[in-house]
Symmetry: C2
Subunit: 394 residues, 2 copies
């Protein structure tokens, strides 16, 4: 149940970032700040330094002190200009959160993050209801992984998808021009295969063979090695793109980094190297691995214009909605395709908190190593303009 | 000794690629083909499919069949549009080379590659002299590693340097915004540290600490771990950028991929993962590694405009020089800085064959883990225009 009302509420605003950055999280910040400046109800605009850590420590930045032309740089600055953290708030932390809100007279709270952050955001909303502290709480979605539920897609994904799609298509030129080893590339995305699926967006334009492995399908070693040998035999070179989170049928990861993050999740990593080693050991073929890792969430050159604009609008919509009396929601997007159009919607926080949207199994080919065209229709508008024309003279 | 003369030589032309591609090797091809079309002496313009393999097999492509507007795409197509290979020609192969040249009446031969390819190119030049087969041979330089001797720099390096510099600066935003682990990024470059040094081009703009390790300095584990702890203690986050070829004082690599290429060189790879593991094991800090690898030599978005234009000019200069009677040379660049200006020169092939230009020790800081400003003055003009402005609100 979300409270709604148009009662004018005067006070200060706080915006915070949670979890890993995206190329466009700063664009949402820009959209929120610009919108807030239009509303007299919002007096001081604060940002939390390093997310939840800043809230707990009362370490806030007055964003009003920055000139508009400096703030405009947020639209092309990757990572989080406020700082973020992976600290998961526990019940013991909420009194300190409330103390910060009271101390700074925060009446508008915006948390810009993924599933874990939306859970926190929901808890802060519940806290305001339970304690009677008048506060409007809106979540602003952010994740390159695209695994937030209900919304059609999530700001951050379009840019990460463009990075994956373009990198794979460019790499395919190299792989086919000098086909001396199987190349395995690892993409981020944790337990969801959305980004890795985007690496196959231009599969039909690739001058080499491609195999794609998502965490939604259990990894089968024998089937993988047979597919590698079969594709390699075609003599065009072979690019294998995999999710960092791929695992065997029993749930054990293909590679274990041995690291756990602040939310208790295992930090993935190393799967491409593991598969490259496996290929060399088991087939005798040469292989090498690429792992752009965090580079896939910071590239300004491959930022999607569509994603950037939508991220900005998500921030603005959050502030506009709160001023209009909404609380307890996350901003989401509903879309039409052909032609593509999107509009913001409000989704109750309880519907998105901690839910994880996996890549649809019906968009994965029967071989378990390819992506069906339906995904292209979904994803291509999100990455925006891109000139995919290359020439081969061979 | 290089033969020179302006005697008009009618016949066909052959251009071939050798070794690993760069973002701009196709630009050199474009420059050579466009120039060749201006000279009536050159009848048919051939390209070798997959480099030396194509020459040995007589597998040539008539480049005249492609429309100009299609060829124009070469300027933005990464990797090699002709195909390349890592086959090192041996004495036993040269009769087959000569047979191919005679069969196709090749009188102009251009080999576009790095040190190994320039050695091959020099041998083919010597073959023409020894056998009396009238042939003009010019090498077109190509290597992202920038390790070709005599020339100020090499086409391909400017783009790889831009990729390294921009990626590191963008990654530094992420590293400082969420400083939960030491991030180690591995760059290509084999035994030369030029590309890795470029990852420190914007060190003065980085919001985090940085340590840089090149193969020109023996890697010292204790010194490294002490530096990591000292930098981490500053609380700003830490980015460590390393060359794939870093090794200990006894010459043993920090990581051994176990793979040897067609030229007999050990294929490097895995050093970032090895150092990341070392940091976690020995300091208790969290760490993760990124290895963009081949992505650093295919990015169109981070292609240097200066590099692209110079690569095209290198190809054109090679053809122009051969038509004017030159043979036995490699095209190189001599430059002025402030303001930057470059012009092509001809360097006898025997001076560059197999020579390896390392990163100058005097440009490495006393700590062995930083780059001195003199390198910035050298490198920055080569990467061309780049807007390095980011904003932090923290």
């Amino acid at each position: 149940m979300c409270k709604e009302g148009a009662v004018m509420l005067k006070g200060n605003m706080l915006i915070a970032h949670g979890g890993g950055p995206t190329p466009v999280i700063n664009s949402s910040l820009l959209g929120a700040v610009r919108e807030a400046k239009l509303h007299g109800e919002i007096e001081t605009i604060y940002g939390a330094r390093f997310g939840a850590e800043g809230i707990l420590a009362g370490d806030l930045i007055d964003l009003g002190k920055f000139a508009d032309e400096d703030l405009a740089l947020l639209a092309k600055t990757p990572a989080s200009a406020l700082g973020s953290c992976r600290r998961k708030l526990t019940d013991a932390d909420y009194p300190a959160v409330l103390e910060c809100f009271k101390k700074f007279n925060i009446r508008y709270f915006f948390y810009n993050g993924g599933n874990d952050s939306m859970d926190t955001c929901n808890k802060i909303y519940n806290l305001s209801v339970e304690t009677g502290y008048e506060l409007r709480v809106i979540g602003i979605p952010k994740t390159i992984d695209n695994d937030l539920d209900v919304t059609d897609h999530c700001p951050g994904f379009g840019s990460a998808a463009k990075y994956a799609a373009v990198s794979a298509l460019e790499l395919a030129q190299d792989v086919s021009a000098l086909p001396i080893h199987v190349v395995v590339m690892e993409m981020m995305g944790r337990n969801a295969g959305w980004i890795t699926a985007a690496s196959a967006l231009y599969a039909d334009l690739m001058p080499c063979e491609q195999l794609v492995y998502l965490p939604e399908v259990a990894f089968d070693k024998e089937r993988f090695l047979a597919a590698v040998k079969e594709k390699w035999a075609k003599g065009r070179g072979l690019l294998v793109t995999i999710s960092e989170g791929i695992h065997y049928a029993d749930g054990s990861p293909v590679a274990d980094s041995g690291v756990v993050d602040g939310f208790g999740h295992k930090v993935p990593g190393g799967a491409a190297q593991a598969l490259s080693d496996m290929i060399m050991r088991e087939t005798g073929l040469k292989s090498r691995s690429e792992k752009p890792g965090l580079l896939g969430r910071v590239s300004v050159a491959l930022m999607s214009e569509v994603d950037q604009k939508e991220a900005e609008e998500a921030g603005a919509c959050a502030v506009r909605s709160a001023v209009a009396g909404k609380t307890g929601y996350m901003v989401g997007f509903e879309t039409a395709r052909e032609p593509y159009a999107s509009q913001t919607i409000l989704i109750p926080l309880e519907q998105v908190a901690n839910a994880e949207k996996k890549f649809p199994l019906e968009w994965i080919g029967d071989d378990g190593a390819s992506i069906r065209p339906a995904f292209k229709a979904y994803c291509e508008p999100l990455i925006g303009a891109y000139d995919s024309r290359f020439i081969s003279l061979r």
